[in-house]
């Protein structure tokens, strides 16, 4: 019996008071020819205890990354999220609220999101941040359409944007879906052998509406060359930089080297990987983009007594006011996950963020050092890395991953899934959760794998 219905057993009483004979009277306006016949062909209801038992069985059969050495990242990162974040975010006042349309009773979330905007703004070095888009990919895609709205009139290459050729195909596909409606042409920017951006090839992007690059790039490389990009592309081309937010504890904020828009997957700050969602997309920008940017924004205001108060502002950009002329169709966003991010950021503070970034750097460095001494493994890029790096293995990377999996290790990401010709390349990801024992296990098994390959060869 379903236990979520307080008026079960009172139906007749309520219907009678309204002058109806039965529930059927309430549906008399639905024509017979569109009515369901019979019961829904679905399973019967379950009690809470049965549901949680099934959930534990089914979800328990999934392999949690934390249950074994895991080096899979490629855009999502397993970091530790402090316990207080989960405790606070499940407070019903946050968890069960809707969008703050009535600011007088939504001050808590509004202020928390205004603080989130400030935290993100400071993190990326830009004056304005919204209170989240769906994920890093949609934030990047909306940054491209935003750049075109802002720059199209003065651009010598109107309706054109350039993105790094390293951009993961799934993210690129999101960009295509978001850009095709406005007939925006997405062109590719090539990279050098060492993983850095080809600054000479970049010159072709000057005069376009926007350029999208990542720091660290999708292969984990920290690319100093990005600091030269804004000068090359010029003031009428938006420099959009995608970031891993934790890296900004040690890596320069893109706003300080010319970025006009910064986007990114917020997930590493505040949220577990959660099968890829819900996450939150970071979106920050400079002033010229403000009135054409997507997403909700909170402003500080006053109430009728002159008391400090917060409310949603600049709503005339949004779909519920501007309808088909809105800057984006986004309505529901990822506020609660952004709140988790804000809590994590608040708890870390500037020193904690630097320390966390350094721990991530150390795990990465340790893994690189250990793997560089592992037989049959070659580090592909001699560069500075954050979180992840590419190795070349003996034989096929895909078969190697299967071998590692058979031996209880989630070995990384097969780069052939992004770049079909890279059949021997694995993207190995470390985070603050990577232990020395994890790294040693990976190296030992990769050494075994190399040996197997030699024998077979």
């Amino acid at each position: 019996m379903v236990d979520q219905l307080p008026n079960r057993g009172r139906e007749t009483e309520m219907l009678k008071e309204m002058g109806y004979k039965g529930m059927e009277d309430l549906f008399a306006d639905i024509p017979a020819d569109v009515r369901f016949k019979g019961d829904l062909p679905l399973r019967g209801p379950q009690s809470e205890e049965e549901i949680i038992r099934d959930a534990r069985r089914l979800l328990g059969s999934n392999v949690a990354m934390g249950s074994r050495p895991s080096f899979l990242g490629a855009g999502l990162y397993r970091n530790y999220v402090p316990a207080s974040v989960f405790q606070l975010v499940t407070r019903g006042e946050f968890l069960t609220a809707y969008t703050p349309y009535q600011p007088e009773v939504s001050q808590g979330m509004l202020q928390a999101m205004w603080e989130f905007q400030t935290l993100v703004s400071e993190l990326v070095g830009l004056p304005i941040a919204n209170l989240s888009l769906y994920d890093g990919s949609t934030a990047a895609a909306e940054a491209l359409t935003c750049a075109v709205r802002v720059h199209n009139r003065k651009a010598s290459q109107p309706n054109t944007v350039y993105v790094s050729a390293l951009t993961p195909p799934d993210k690129l596909s999101v960009m295509h879906n978001y850009c095709q409606g406005a007939e925006i042409d997405i062109r590719m920017l090539s990279h050098n052998e060492d993983g850095t951006l080809d600054l000479q090839a970049l010159e072709q992007a000057a005069g376009s509406c926007g350029v999208y690059l990542e720091q660290p790039n999708p292969l984990g490389v920290l690319d100093e060359g990005l600091t030269a990009v804004k000068e090359i592309v010029g003031e009428h081309t938006a420099l959009i930089v995608g970031v891993q937010p934790i890296s900004l504890g040690v890596v320069e904020a893109p706003g300080h080297y010319g970025a006009d828009i910064v986007v990114g997957e917020g997930q590493p700050l505040g949220s577990p990987v959660t099968g890829g969602g819900p996450l939150y997309g970071i979106f920050a920008c400079t002033k010229p983009y403000l009135r054409l940017m997507p997403g909700r924004i909170v402003g500080r205001s006053i109430d009728v007594d002159g008391k400090e108060a917060y409310c949603l502002t600049l709503s005339t950009r949004e779909q519920h006011i501007r309808r088909h002329r809105a800057t984006s169709n986004i309505c529901t966003n990822e506020t609660l996950i952004a709140l988790m991010g804000a809590m994590h950021m608040a708890l870390l503070g500037p020193d904690g963020l630097r320390e966390l970034a350094q721990r991530n750097m150390r795990a990465c460095q340790k893994a690189k050092e250990a793997l560089s001494e592992t037989p049959g493994v070659r580090l592909v890029h001699d560069a500075s890395h954050f979180n992840e790096f590419v190795i070349e293995v003996e034989g096929s990377a895909s078969a190697c991953l299967t071998y590692l999996d058979d031996n209880g290790i989630i070995g990384g990401f097969d780069l052939a899934r992004w770049y079909p010709d890279k059949t021997q390349h694995l993207l190995v990801t470390t985070t603050d959760q990577t232990s020395l024992a994890d790294i040693e296990a990976l190296c030992a098994q990769l050494a075994m794998w190399s040996k197997h390959q030699e024998v077979t060869a």
């Binding site: 207080s84 600011p103 205004w114 809590m343 608040a346 460095q365």
Partner: protein
């Protein structure tokens, strides 16, 4: 006031971390890329951080706080076991790129959810990829767009929406590159078939509509509308925002729709979290299925080796539709939200019909109770139904226009008066076709007593003198917020240099 940026403790007052790994050589950032100035983040200890966010939470109103009759948003109770389930490592700590044999439990839940939504909506294939209702709309119109491109019907560049539609409908279609044709509703708030017939032609790609409509009325002419659009060669798109009214009673498929999105955060209780996350799966008829974004969960007979790892008699795997439009977000949808909604579905199973019956029962009862109390108190002349109807569905509208004319009391005044009595206000000024509109949706998880008490309080508000109402609310953490001031004096982040 508690201000996050007022906390400036000593260095390293925050969360303490274990030492990093020892390396042979120190890791380093390229010189020109080293961060020169740290972010101006606050420094606070865990006790201070916990107190700050607890203080903030007490200045926020959720379903747990009190009755939340926000029309169109389906603010039903969020069962707590769903939160416990969503934090299990088997969902919180899995990566979408793990191999299929690591994710059999997740895949089986995806499959079950796809199937359940297909059954409830009368559609042939569901994808759980879109992460919000608006993204579901966008995804579906993109599928429709590619369907017509493949058929060589590139001239279908227009999408029809009624003037009572949610703003996301025209925004989503415009984002996909469609031209929007808005048609007026009839005086009674229902679809105008003549107006529809006048605009449906060989340039029509789709019509987007919700049913029950945004006035909470069932569009009895929906089959005729479907016929008009289909005869013109267009597709019918169902906005599932109001799905809570009809589960197990009718379905978009039975009404003639080709595509539909679901708001799992409305109908299936994913908590809305102050604005998100959501989940916006879409379902389509077979002819649109090849265009869906993947991956979809599919299943087959397991091999002998797979059998030992299977969660039931099937082997579950990901599947990419043949002519997929590609990705609309990078990963596999909001898996965490899907899991919560799966747990919610399991609670009802085939009893989902009862859920919708109670949603409609409560809406009609509340409408009845408000009229009853108003009559008793002699204030029934201060409002009228937003649309004339015998029965409403899961929500109903009232127009405060008479109160406005008689005593200068607006829908917003009434809303603020309700805040003072401990309620979340209904949706106001939407749909735009009802003057001084209040849109009220109680949901099935409110008791008769709550509805009776709310009706009494609603009438009390109407009896309040206009001056008091203009000044409301007075019991809330702040009084009426000056939105014009916010827009004219933009302050979008903490001003660090302010005294």
């Amino acid at each position: 006031m508690s201000h996050l940026f007022g906390h400036n403790g000593a260095e390293n007052t925050g969360y303490s971390q274990p030492a990093g790994l020892d390396c042979a050589s120190e890791p380093s950032v390229p010189k020109g890329l080293m961060r020169k100035q740290a972010a101006q983040w606050p420094r606070l200890s865990e006790p201070e951080m916990v107190r700050h966010y607890t203080w903030l939470s007490k200045r926020n109103f959720g379903i747990d706080t009190g009755f939340y009759p926000l029309g169109s948003c389906t603010m039903k109770h969020n069962p707590r076991v769903n939160e416990v389930i969503a934090q299990l490592p088997g969902i919180a700590d899995i990566h979408p790129h793990q191999p299929e044999h690591h994710l059999q439990g997740l895949l089986s839940i995806y499959y079950e959810m796809q199937h359940m939504l297909e059954v409830c909506a009368g559609m042939d294939q569901v994808t759980l990829q879109p992460v919000a209702g608006a993204q579901g709309e966008f995804t579906a119109v993109r599928c429709i767009q590619e369907y017509f491109r493949m058929r060589g019907e590139d001239q279908r560049t227009k999408v029809i929406v009624p003037d009572s539609a949610h703003g996301t409908n025209p925004a989503s279609a415009a984002m996909a590159g469609f031209e929007i044709v808005e048609i007026p509703s009839r005086a009674d708030g229902r679809i105008d078939l003549d107006a529809l017939a006048a605009v449906a032609d060989e340039t029509t790609a789709a019509m987007m509509i919700t049913n029950p409509n945004t006035l909470g009325l069932f569009e009895a002419d929906i089959s005729a509308a479907s016929d008009i659009v289909h005869k013109a060669g267009g597709q019918m798109y169902y906005d599932g925002a109001n799905f809570n009214a009809i589960l197990g009673i009718t379905s978009p498929g039975l009404m003639g729709f080709d595509a539909v999105h679901f708001n799992l955060h409305k109908t299936f209780s994913q908590p809305h979290g102050g604005g998100g996350p959501g989940s916006g799966p879409i379902g389509v008829k077979a002819h649109l299925a090849p265009f869906l974004p993947g991956p979809l969960a599919a299943r087959r007979e397991p091999s002998a080796e797979e059998r030992s790892m299977a969660v039931d008699e099937h082997w579950y795997h990901w599947h990419e539709p043949e002519h997929s439009i590609g990705k609309i977000q990078q990963w596999h949808g909001n898996a965490g939200a899907v899991i919560r909604c799966w747990a919610y579905y399991r609670r009802y199973g085939n009893g989902l019909t009862t859920m919708s019956e109670h949603a409609v029962l409560n809406a009609n009862y509340l409408r009845h109770a408000i009229h009853r109390e108003a009559k008793t108190a002699g204030v029934d002349h201060l409002f009228v139904d937003g649309a004339e109807t015998d029965v409403a569905k899961h929500e109903f509208t009232l127009s405060m226009q008479p109160a406005k004319e008689a005593m200068g009391v607006s829908a917003m005044d009434v809303a603020k008066g309700l805040l003072d009595r401990g309620y979340m206000a209904p949706t106001v000024y939407f749909p735009l076709v009802v003057p001084e509109c209040m849109m009220i949706e109680p949901t099935e998880t409110e008791s008769k007593d709550t509805l009776d008490t709310f009706a009494k309080h609603f009438v009390e508000v109407l009896k309040t003198d206009p001056e008091t109402l203009h000044a409301a609310p007075v019991t809330t953490p702040v009084r009426r917020v000056d939105e014009v001031y916010a827009a004219r004096n933009l302050c979008l982040r903490h001003p660090f240099d302010e005294a």
